[in-house]
Symmetry: C2
Subunit: 464 residues, 2 copies
């Protein structure tokens, strides 16, 4: 038995070895990482985008500047072609700085809130009402008419025991997206949502919400409250009646008419299979708070860096490598949907799309949505990534903007950076350039360029 | 052939599977991570240590406070035993804030420096001299007497293309440790060393230096210059003669008599093999800049957390688990050496020592110094760590403080956190509590507790 095991280990190793070890590939990856870490441009680009343009909400003037800047920078790279693809984006404005207070008979407590993206304003004088705290949308539904005239306070915390913070986000973000819609149905006058934040601090986190099919009179103003504010409000609510506790908030946000915008696109034409298109991208829009440095300035500059590295290292791709900087991810994906619709119309063959939209942190691996054959091929490249501490190759991933490109046999990938710090910054004033580490950003860009290089070199497996 | 390969893969998988998958262990690890992430104390401890005690250089009053605090906190955990182990530590003081200027005939440029630990002072009026820039110790030796009367400027940058930043540090830190010794031998009047920093900023990085066997008149003052300062100085040196460039610096540091100090130790006695000792530790001292949060406040509180988790989860170890908070790592390891000497004298059997001294960043794995059998055993636990994104199990590691405990067949380990950000903070004013992410710190503690749990459960392999 022992001999069989040893033999089988040996054979197994030989099999794996012959599939994996490709000297040319490992040399190429080393050049890519060295280029990104020693002569990379991603960090300087991000500096400009964050500090000279800053927050760039869909439909804003800053978004226009970002589009012009990105096109200009791509133009300088000597790609085969750079262009703008028209799409329509919504236009919402936050208006004046929000105000919020917990009002009790013993005094008032100022707390930090920010309107959720898409929310209507309060009346000019704000909303003052009693508060009902719940931990889920289901609880709101169960309360039904009891929420009438009240402010619903959705306070389920992100579960800290999840290792991936995106899972903790997924487990709670329904409160933000749907809280106001459901509470409004039952006659609530406002919805206050605990910020999607694993830390306890004073920073409110915005993000999208949706009224669904609610009638006009069922649309209620909604805002995120900082986790510190949420903890205080919850504590004080324990003595609600004794305190005669009410909550006051005021916001002046506004939904304006849609605006013409653009996806920014550049490509290097493939030498052998120009009709096989490999997309790498991130979204150029951001929330209106902070500078959109991690979300998704990082993904934008990393995607640009992939094509710059190809040009700089004179890698002549077999297939067409296209960078797409999507418009309006945050407010309903119209950039991603528009891009996919035009690809469909033109019968373009998108074999691969790789997205970076999880922050500019140390890269850990990829999430991969593909058929089994392609997944296996990618997993066989694991050893090539080992020297760069890239270990995670999980099934599923490659989401929002590139999602509409999914076909039966193509491959979508999402870069997976370390997720622990992401929700310290996500959709807040704290998402600034200084929160991004140069090397972490650059390693991410190199990891993306390496994966694109391998996918271009070997193509994908399509069932016939 | 294909069938043989498939069979061999199958057999290989079965073998690995039976060795690896232990339901009880995976459940225990899950409990450990949940405890650390939801009820952990490491972050609050670090908050106190950083903000209420702060920098705690060996021999300082703050170090005494830190020792008293750590003992007090360990006393509260209900361990079998907590005690202080006397060791002697050096006592160096920085004195007044250093000053430095690049002096040219066109004007002066203020730059940021900090004295290196162990350096002597300049004269009261400072040192003003011409500068010779070199990229290595070898170059100083080659220049020989030509450095006489000059300030030697050691300006070899950390190589950015290394993936592990500790390798980039290892490739350059000889300049800091030995620059002044070698330059002093040849009659230089000062040594200015580029900070061990991969970023370009204004923060100087201190660290230890050594005069070796130099005679008194060969001991020269030495300081680190910020990377921005180093770049500027190097640039201006290109026109040295035209500029009539000199460098001025002034520092008032002082070497004082040795001081009595302590290692802080606590243990949970083993149920079955109490004489087999498993150590987990970090060093309680820090540099005098910043708050010593990453270096090594993080390692201290993570090590304390390991024992707290064992108590809280009622894990009754078979072997004795001992936390050791070492005195004076930064200034010559007298804590670690003293601990090992006493262990030797008492004929204690240290089978395992695990150190955390690479910052409180997202844990990636372990460096392991052991014989092959023990290494193989540890690698077989990989799948247990997979859900927590712990993938790196490399040979070699587990260094400074626990190094003196190395025996033929015992096991030393070092926690390996992600290293990208470490040298943004290392030995500087920037190494403060705010630079540590709560979840990253806690994941590190859980990873250490998990490894200690497995090593306690299965023991180590000793050749007979």
């Amino acid at each position: 038995m022992k001999i069989i095991v040893k033999l089988s280990i040996f054979l197994f190793c030989v099999t794996i070895w012959s599939q994996n070890v490709n000297k040319k590939d490992s040399t190429q990856l080393r050049s890519i990482y060295t280029e990104a870490l020693t002569k990379g441009r991603s960090y300087n680009w991000l500096n400009y985008l964050s500090k000279n343009i800053g927050a760039r909400l869909a439909g804003s003037e800053a978004e226009k500047k970002a589009i012009a800047w990105a096109k200009d920078e791509l133009d300088k790279l000597g790609l085969t072609k750079v262009w703008l693809q028209p799409v329509t984006v919504p236009h919402w404005e936050r208006g004046e700085k929000e105000e919020a207070r917990i009002v009790t008979k013993h005094g008032e407590f100022k707390v930090d809130i920010c309107a959720l993206g898409g929310s209507i304003a309060t009346s000019k004088d704000g909303v003052l009402a009693e508060v009902i705290e719940v931990k889920s949308i289901k609880e709101v539904e169960d309360l039904g008419a009891k929420v009438k005239g009240k402010i619903v306070f959705l306070n389920r915390a992100m579960p800290a025991d999840k290792i991936e913070t995106f899972r903790a986000y997924g487990a709670t973000v329904d409160q933000r997206y749907s809280g106001a819609r459901v509470a409004g149905k039952f006659g609530a006058v406002g919805a206050i949502v605990r910020s999607m934040n694993l830390k306890i601090d004073n920073i409110p986190h915005t993000g999208s919400m949706n009224y669904g099919e609610n009638a006009e009179n069922e649309k209620i103003p909604t805002a995120a409250i900082s986790t510190n504010g949420a903890e205080l409000l919850s504590k004080l609510l324990e003595q609600k009646d004794k305190m005669e506790l009410k909550f006051f908030f005021k916001q002046s946000c506004e939904i304006l008419p849609d605006v013409a915008s653009f996806n920014v696109i550049g490509e290097i034409k493939g030498l052998h299979y120009p009709n096989e298109i490999i997309v790498v991208g991130g979204h150029l829009d951001s929330w209106d708070l902070g500078e959109g440095a991690h979300d998704d300035g990082a993904g934008v500059v990393q995607s640009m860096e992939v094509l710059r590295i190809f040009k700089e290292l004179k890698i002549k791709p077999k297939r067409t490598i296209r960078v797409v900087l999507f418009a309006n991810e945050e407010f309903g994906l119209s950039g991603g949907l528009g891009y996919a619709a035009e690809a469909e119309k033109k019968k373009e063959n998108h074999i691969v799309a790789l997205e970076s939209d999880s922050g500019g942190f140390s890269p850990r691996g990829f999430g991969i949505t593909s058929n089994d054959k392609n997944y296996e091929q990618i997993v066989q490249w694991k050893s090539l990534f080992e020297p760069y501490n890239i270990h995670i190759f999980t099934k599923g991933g490659g989401g929002a903007d590139i999602g509409p490109l999914k076909k039966d046999n193509n491959v979508l990938l999402g870069l997976r950076p370390d997720s622990q710090r992401y929700f310290d910054y996500h959709h807040t004033d704290a998402d600034v350039f200084e929160a991004v580490n140069k090397r972490e950003l650059e390693l991410g860009a190199a990891t993306m360029a390496s994966m694109i290089y391998l996918l271009d070199t070997y193509g994908i497996k399509t069932k016939k």
